[in-house]
């Protein structure tokens, strides 16, 4: 598979990363190597094989959908983590 610098830039944009030209070239080489290695998976016959998404053996684990109050200490600790705040409110950049 041929990975071009434009491929790398568009993947980076999807992943909300920006890369320098040197990084683009580095990741292009490294990803090409990694994906070339992954081609070995095509040696395995998986015709009709169910994909495994998880191995817990559990299915449809549900809980009641209800609001649980947080204690004051935890609330204060959560708010203290806000990178930018106005009083107890989280400040975010404008969307538009």
């Amino acid at each position: 598979m041929e990975l071009t610098p434009d491929h790398i830039r568009s993947i980076a944009a999807l992943a909300r990363l920006s890369l320098t030209d040197a990084e683009v070239e580095k990741y292009r080489e490294q990803l090409a190597g990694v994906f070339a290695y992954m081609e070995v998976l095509n040696e395995v016959d998986t015709e009709g094989v169910e994909p495994t998404g998880q191995v817990s053996g559990l299915a449809d684990v549900l809980r009641p959908d209800r609001v649980v109050e947080t204690d004051a200490t935890t609330r204060a600790a959560l708010i203290a983590l806000f990178p930018e705040r106005a009083g107890d409110a989280l400040v975010v950049p404008p969307v538009l």
């Binding site: 909300r16 990741y27 990803l31 990694v34 998986t46 094989v49 994909p51």
Partner: protein
């Protein structure tokens, strides 16, 4: 402590002094909890005085920094979270603190658990206590080094595809990955949610058993934790192992394995025969596809999990417009290997590639699970080396990520299958570097795995050797 010969405050003070002296030499710690640890030690002493003691009460332990600990920094070894103080304890940590365990240190690791050498940390590489020019293994390298150097009695870490067992092997200690779902993942910085498992690291399997009794069990905060009854692991350690059928998968003894590692594992197999076990060659035919499977599934799940780290509600906020805010925060906050895995995962999940990579890997995962299911028809346990080589030099493999991915070759298949696997010291190579063997059991058969590991340790003394750091 329960005999009142030493108090938890005295013991904790000694461990804190040892961390102050040797922690920087190994670069094993990101945080030493000093005052908070002493407060926990005083509470432990009070619990002992009131007759409310447990084997873990007052015992100093450390935690991988990718696991959340209330009021104590949890960085994941990444710049993105270098000032993150979790407002809650991970469930396993809450359970240990509920027994008045004393949290003395948070351990350096590969950033968000991405790596096998502990060289991918914002806080610099960790050094192997047996040779300071070598890596301790990763991603839980700080935890392995700290236990090996007696900076804590045990450590709690996380294993997605070997992050407990691999460094345990390279650092000469015991590391245990229980069955997927046996321990709660709540409060763990997630990497690949279908593979992440929390487990303990210590010098002896007996300690592992005691820890598992407290850590394991259903957690309402983790929908993937299983409701199965938690056995009395420590009591069951002396259960019979004579007659246990041990499978040796021929795929694990190919070209890439160092001669000293092969010899040490052969020695361990002989010990198992002495214990009355029978040894059988088996085949796990899809072993060679495990790394490719793992390194598709993990970056995919990883890139999804890491999408939450946008610097908006916690972490390092970026600058500029909304989109630029995300980009600048993630660019500055993520180490190189994290970016690489996000790139691999984003590509593999993108339109037109999902079927060829993610779905294909999920199907091969089914094949790998079938290998194990088939093996359990003829054997009770599988014994392998934990790693093909012993600890390598810092920087030796840094330039080629694929080389480092291949380090996980013996620990990835059991991770994909979700079965319990234990790494136990079984020798040293010609340079004096530790070698570990891996015992793999059927799903939820932790007790059997721990029994065999414990009884092996009773007739060997590899785990009693300590690195010379003083």
């Amino acid at each position: 402590m329960q005999d009142k010969k030493i108090s938890s405050v005295e013991l904790t003070t000694e461990y804190l002094a040892r961390n102050a002296k040797l922690g920087p030499v190994l670069n094993a710690n990101i945080t030493v909890a000093d005052e908070a640890a002493l407060a926990m030690a005083r509470a432990a002493d009070a619990a002992i005085a009131s007759g409310d003691a447990h084997p873990l009460t007052g015992v100093p332990f450390g935690v991988k920094d990718a696991i959340c600990t209330r009021d104590i920094l949890s960085t994941g070894s990444a710049h993105m979270l270098d000032s993150y103080v979790a407002p809650y304890d991970a469930t396993v940590i809450a359970r240990l603190r509920g027994r008045h365990g004393v949290l003395v240190s948070k351990h350096n690791c590969d950033g968000f658990g991405h790596g096998a050498s502990n060289e991918n940390s914002h806080f610099g590489p960790v050094k192997n206590p047996w040779d300071l020019t070598r890596v301790p293994g990763g991603s839980s390298g700080g935890s392995a080094a700290a236990v090996a150097a007696d900076l804590c009695v045990y450590a709690i870490a996380e294993d997605t595809g070997g992050s407990i067992r691999y460094p345990a092997s390279l650092s000469g200690i015991v590391g245990f990955r229980p069955s997927y779902g046996r321990n709660s993942r709540y409060g763990i910085m997630p990497m690949a949610s279908s593979l992440d498992v929390v487990g303990p690291m210590a010098h002896t399997v007996e300690d592992i058993a005691i820890l598992m009794e407290t850590m394991a069990g259903l957690d309402p905060h983790d929908a993937t934790s299983v409701p199965d009854v938690v056995p009395a692991y420590a009591k069951e350690l002396d259960g019979p192992v004579a007659g246990m059928r041990i499978g040796i998968p021929k795929e694990y003894f190919g070209d890439g394995i160092a001669p000293d590692v092969a010899a040490a594992v052969q020695g361990a197999i002989k010990e198992m025969e002495q214990l009355g076990c029978t040894v059988h060659e088996i085949s796990l035919p899809h072993t060679n596809y495990a790394i490719a499977t793992y390194y598709v599934l993990v970056p995919c799940e990883d890139s999804s999990n890491l999408a939450r780290l946008d610097g908006m509600r916690y972490g390092t906020r970026g600058t500029g417009s909304l989109n630029d805010t995300y980009i600048s925060a993630r660019n500055a906050g993520f180490p190189d290997e994290v970016k690489r895995r996000i790139m691999i995962g984003t590509y593999a999940l993108s339109a037109g590639h999902y079927e060829a990579y993610y779905r294909k890997a999920q199907q091969v995962r089914t094949r790998i699970i079938e290998d194990f299911t088939h093996a359990w028809k003829s054997v009770d346990m599988i014994l392998t080396p934990t790693a093909p080589i012993t600890a390598f030099k810092i920087g030796e493999k840094a330039a080629d990520p694929l080389q480092l991915y291949l380090a996980d070759i013996f620990v990835a298949p059991s991770s994909l299958a979700g079965v319990p696997a234990l790494s136990v010291p079984c020798g040293f190579d010609r340079d004096g570097l530790p070698i570990g063997m891996q015992l793999i059991g059927p799903r939820m058969a932790e007790s059997r795995v721990l029994q065999l590991g414990h009884q092996y340790q009773r007739v060997t003394d590899w785990h009693t050797r300590v690195p010379n750091l003083d």
